[in-house]
Symmetry: C2
Subunit: 378 residues, 2 copies
């Protein structure tokens, strides 16, 4: 274990976790108690019983998001289970509050049965104004998100899919300005899990026409028989028009953009060198990227980004989900749409007035990030 890991463990141990509950109302004496609790609360309960939507007015529903995971795809660690997902969901909840004033609460579910997860979240949803799904493996995550969106009238967002896709698209918009290339670039997406498929879908919707998605079996093409699922088949219909097969190494030759949402260390310096001139490398595997920022730069990549907080260009979902839910809660939308996602990416990219190789994306600590993203929702 390195010093940094030790530091992080120490931070989590000091106060036993990171998240606390506070009262927004005074509780100093019997009078306060009479209003916030019994008997006064009965008037509130009666009102809500008649019109449950009053939970937005008299309850925290309009500012409360559930951060839900089953621990089946935690960071880049894999299916390590719901308990291991807890510290990540707790961290996410804090970022909601810190960056957009959204109250969020971590709920880790000790089941990986998709139908059961859907039922549980639906049963719980009453107290929440939105559901942020997190670290749920593909293809179950697609099924769960689709079912929840059909059953609930509060916005449901699988951050690993859409948060990642939005921030990637924002970064790519600016990176292409820097290297002076357009939507005809050849893009290789490595990883066909939740993030890879959502990124590909959003890039396609934005107008990128030359994308090849690679999974552990190599390039995905229409008609491939092995290791496919419904979502991969849909993606194959819109990508890799030449129906190329081959390994990641094969398809990276001559590519303009590499987007990795896969595993640490899958990309060598040689593979970066084989890319087209002024190559863009977004190595997003978390916590350790497909290739380190330093190695990718050293191999000649013009622009490098990772998902790490210690990276120069950090393409982190924290740029997206707080603002997106802020906007969704304020406008009380029933569901997110693709149009909102595309607009959020453009809004985020637009915050960097003069993109450069060192800065394709704003820092999450810059003021106005959440507001800009929130502004596109509604």
């Amino acid at each position: 274990m390195n010093d940094f890991d030790r530091d992080s463990l120490k931070l989590h141990e000091e106060k036993h976790g990171k998240l606390g509950i506070v009262s927004k109302v005074p509780l100093r004496n019997r009078d306060d108690l009479s209003r916030a609790y019994t008997p006064g609360v009965a008037a509130v309960s009666k009102a809500v019983a008649e019109d449950p939507s009053l939970l937005y007015k008299y309850g925290g529903k309009g500012n409360m998001v559930a951060v839900v995971s089953d621990g089946s795809a935690v960071l880049g660690l894999g299916n390590v289970g719901a308990a291991a997902a807890y510290p990540v969901m707790e961290g996410k909840a804090l970022l909601f509050k810190e960056f957009a004033g959204v109250d969020a609460f971590p709920l880790v579910l000790d089941t990986q049965d998709a139908a059961e997860i859907v039922d549980i979240v639906c049963a719980l949803a009453l107290g929440f104004g939105g559901i942020n799904l997190e670290d749920i493996s593909a293809p179950r995550c697609f099924e769960i998100e689709t079912a929840l969106k059909a059953r609930l009238k509060i916005p449901v967002f699988h951050d690993d899919q859409h948060g990642t896709a939005i921030v990637l698209l924002a970064g790519l918009i600016n990176a292409l300005k820097v290297v002076e290339k357009d939507k005809n670039v050849r893009i290789v997406v490595n990883g066909a899990g939740a993030a890879g498929l959502a990124i590909t879908r959003l890039l396609h919707l934005y107008g990128f026409g030359n994308i090849i998605v690679v999974d552990s079996q190599g390039a995905i093409f229409q008609g491939r028989s092995e290791n496919m699922n419904t979502t991969k088949a849909e993606i194959a219909a819109h990508t890799n028009s030449e129906r190329l097969s081959g390994t990641l190494e094969d398809v990276m030759v001559g590519a303009d953009v590499f987007i990795g949402v896969s595993k640490a260390g899958l990309v060598s310096q040689g593979m970066v060198r084989s890319m087209a001139d002024r190559a863009i490398v977004f190595a997003m595997a978390n916590p350790d990227p497909e290739i380190s920022e330093a190695d990718a730069k050293d191999a000649g990549a013009a622009i490098v980004a990772t998902g790490r907080s210690d990276s120069l260009n950090q393409l982190n979902n924290v740029l997206v989900f707080p603002g997106l839910f802020r906007g969704a809660l304020d406008a009380r939308i029933e569901q997110f749409t693709d149009e909102m996602f595309l607009a959020a990416a453009e809004a985020l990219a637009g915050l960097v007035l003069e993109p450069s190789a060192e800065k394709i994306i704003p820092s999450p600590f810059e003021p106005g990030v959440a507001d800009a993203v929130a502004g596109v929702v509604g």
Copy 2:
């Protein structure tokens, strides 16, 4: 609507509910983010994946209680549904924090199927150090609590049962000192729901031998055929040894103690007058008692208590659940026991050094209440 109800609605509207989420760790810059979130949180997740009990060390599990309701028996309002239960659960969560430093979160479930509720709570329990069940109707609440206790290794507590029973027993211990009576008193418990049956059970365990429980059909006796359930049958075996039948009015004649956990207005002044000399009236229906404090006093009751915050002797569960969970979390017990409940009642009663008709129970705002209760657990 009266001024007080309007005040309470206003309090709930001002900040849209009563509960907020805060960070216990700093989030000022990228370094902080790296430790609390990615990449640093990965070290914590890895550790927890190997040993989920580390959530007590690195997560908030050891101080976090879920306050769970299905809205089937909200206060005295009845089956008004999960949304209507939310403001009550939210209030409860605040009291946990205010009186014992316990973080608690309200979870209202949009299902009243007992087996489903058990499955949902079990699936969610990983992130919590305890489960407080609330406002769930009898006899489902017995089934749900029993099943959860069997499946979970964190303390499960149905507050309407045990919190009420403990505070009632504490009040009764002191009230009997004031009126100079002993365990041979005749006690009438009106209401055979969650609270009534739990109170009767705890009083019996404490050594009271002359109890009659009354439900909407009248006195419950062994062998009665109408409107019974398993729990009522168990209670009947230990109460009403003379197998009296009759109405509440009938059995109150000559009784020393009336305990109401039923409905507003069920007790008349005439019924109080028919009780034995130096009568004790605990009218606990919420928010409006079986008979008002003033009317009961006026009819000659020596000691009157209600569950209301504006009552002189307030027998409110808030005297119990914060401290009991504080103790349970600190000692990390796997389940509560009857012995703990009896000890909690004695500890609570013991805090009033010189009981009087005006003071049979401490105020929740007196320092040391939660500590005294917490001290009996472990």
